[in-house]
């Protein structure tokens, strides 16, 4: 390598090239940001309820058992499409009822089965959570997951 390149050349390539790629990345970030806001998540309005629902999701660290759009923990099912799986993605009231029934049935206590903890949520929180999951479900995720199993 000694003949082909000096240390100073290697250093300058490192600096110059990195700046080049950072700039491209920043440009694509701006475009992607606008695309998310205006296109892929524009199908359903991001209401206050959806925003509150996201907070409920975070406060209880649901992501450390479940995946959401395939990211998170692998201990429990994907929830990015759970509203589709339950057949309630177009019916917010049914979504609320189904989710409420689910949350309040936990933990099942069945021996040898993974347990979801009991979260003590108010009806309003459950409604927000359902709206958040419907909102997420309607995001354009380029056809992922491959099927309803998630």
């Amino acid at each position: 390598m000694r003949e082909v390149m000096t240390k100073a050349m290697a250093r300058n390539i490192f600096y110059g090239g990195s700046i080049f790629f950072i700039l491209i990345f920043l440009g694509l970030t701006i475009h992607s940001h606008l695309y998310i806001v205006n296109t892929s998540t524009a199908a359903t309005p991001l209401t206050d309820s959806v925003a509150r629902g996201k907070r409920v999701w975070e406060r209880h660290a649901c992501i450390n058992c479940h995946t959401l759009h395939g990211e998170g923990a692998y201990f429990a099912p994907e929830v990015g499409n759970v509203m589709t799986r339950w057949g309630v993605v177009e019916k917010p009231d049914d979504a609320f009822e189904t989710l409420k029934g689910w949350i309040e049935a936990q933990p099942t206590g069945i021996a040898g089965r993974r347990q979801m903890p009991r979260f003590h949520l108010t009806d309003e929180e459950i409604r927000d959570l359902a709206n958040f999951l419907i909102w997420a479900d309607k995001t354009d995720t380029k056809g992922w997951p491959p099927n309803d199993a998630g």
């Binding site: 406060r59 209880h60 450390n64 990211e71 998170g72 993974r114 380029k142 199993a149």
Partner: protein, 457 residues
């Protein structure tokens, strides 16, 4: 020890090793919950155990990096650390934050409080006050080492190390941005997670590795440093746009499927180069350094990083493959070997190299240390294999055949049992490592008569 202030590293490495043992014990518990799911389910649910496992991992790796910087920089810059007091204060803040995190998670304190309660985004669950503490500590650290380097000799090693450490702090700032829009949240979340492990952390890894090679093999600095720049150039050229491999299915534009696939495939190059670099240096080197255990860990880290990050990363990085494997046990398999190979082993390499020097004695715990290398690496490799099998079966049944998630999981129990067994080996290895570093007062197996030792460096 040439410089008194290198001693700071001792305290950092000690805390890091304690958290390392906590981390793997937490992993073992999480692995046991997979086997016997009712364990502690109403007292400490799986998500809490998992947060403790992953957060303690990241904290101890960072503490190890900080300690390594305090150890390496005085020698490279040829002067004492600007302010040792500040360095200890920084450690105290980090320890306080860590304790705060553990208590907050375990007892779910201040749930919902914006400042004090946990903030449940994966890996960034720390309450806001802890995040602020981390930034304060990082600023103290950067000030301290930057002042030291600016006033002293500037080498490629300190240069790349500083850029890496500044990058860690800068990208962490994205942890404070949590938009209501989930897809935006996810896009910027990867600025912390991906641009750390596949960007700036690689700079830290490469520079510490370069330092170790310089010391252990005695190869010319010019050669080592040229390699260093070439390696980190390939890291950033591929890793920045490689972020695209996380932008396939989260609401980001379709062009990421191509950009992500192409650039993240090229991310294998820096890991391959680091492996080649370490073996070539050892081959060319004239020095027969007595710390064979440090050499083993140094070669181990580049090899295992190549497999964990490079090979296992490539396995699921093309978007056509990732469509099926995304978020399965395949991801867990890769996450484990990549973190272990690249960053755990790197830290254990520098600990192994530094401790005899910090304690001002010969490296005489090597046989135990080297056994711990094989025990841990064997355990992690086995864990990676069984999770890969589990993930393959899962991908096929769930993603191709469309079987229900929980039904599929029931069919994977044998793999989870084997993962637990592998975890036991890893925990034993970790404990053995800490023991070998801290306790023995002499070599446990006497070296053979041929072992001509040159003086320690």
């Amino acid at each position: 020890m040439k410089y008194e202030s290198q001693k700071i590293a001792y305290a950092y490495f000690l805390v890091a090793m304690i958290l390392f043992v906590v981390q793997v014990s937490g992993g073992l518990l999480a692995g046991w919950i997979y086997v016997s799911p009712n364990t502690l389910s109403e007292i400490v649910p799986f998500n809490v155990v998992r947060m403790l496992h992953t957060n303690s991992l990241v904290v101890w790796l960072l503490l190890g990096f900080f300690g390594a910087a305090y150890f390496v920089i005085p020698e490279e810059a040829e002067r004492e650390i600007h302010s040792p007091k500040l360095a200890y204060l920084q450690l105290a803040i980090l320890v306080l934050g860590t304790a705060g995190v553990v208590v907050t998670y375990l007892f779910d304190l201040f749930n919902g409080n914006l400042l004090l309660g946990k903030d449940g985004r994966e890996f960034l669950e720390q309450p806001l006050w802890v995040k602020v503490g981390i930034v304060v500590a990082a600023l103290m650290f950067l000030y301290n080492i930057s002042m030291t380097v600016l006033a002293g000799r500037k080498t490629a090693i300190t240069n790349v190390l500083l850029i890496g450490l500044w990058g860690i702090a800068i990208f962490f700032l994205f942890a404070f941005y949590n938009p209501h829009n989930l897809s935006l949240d996810k896009m910027y979340w990867w600025y912390v997670v991906h641009l750390w492990v596949e960007g700036v952390w690689e700079l830290v890894m490469a520079s510490i590795l370069a330092y170790l090679m310089l010391k252990l093999t005695g190869v010319d600095r010019e050669i080592v440093e040229k390699w260093l720049y070439v390696i980190v150039a390939t890291s950033l050229f591929t890793g920045i746009l490689g972020t695209g491999h996380h932008y396939y299915w989260i609401g980001t534009p379709g062009y990421w499927q191509w950009i992500g696939s192409i650039f993240s495939s090229l991310e294998v190059i820096p890991f391959f180069l680091m492996m080649v670099f370490s073996f070539v240096m050892v081959w060319k080197g004239s020095r027969d350094h007595p710390n064979k255990a440090a050499l083993l860990w140094s070669l181990g880290t580049t090899t295992l990083a190549f497999f964990g990050a490079g090979v296992w990363g490539f396995m699921h990085t093309l978007h056509g493959v990732n469509y099926y494997t995304h978020g399965t046990q395949i991801t867990a398999a890769h996450g484990h070997l990549a973190f272990f190979g690249a960053y755990v082993s790197l830290n254990l390499a520098i600990f192994t190299y530094a401790f005899p020097i910090l304690k001002n004695r010969d490296p005489y715990n090597q046989v135990l240390n080297m056994s711990s290398f094989w025990l841990m690496s064997g355990g992690m490799a086995f864990m990676t294999f069984v999770l890969t099998f589990a993930g393959t079966v899962q991908t096929h049944l769930q993603r191709v055949m469309g079987q229900n998630y929980m039904e599929v999981q029931d069919q994977l129990s044998i793999f989870y049992l084997m993962r637990f067994g592998a975890g036991v080996a890893v925990v034993l290895g970790a404990v053995l490592f800490v023991f070998a570093i801290l306790v023995p007062k002499r070599e446990v197996v006497a070296p053979g008569p041929d072992a001509k030792l040159s003086p320690a460096e």
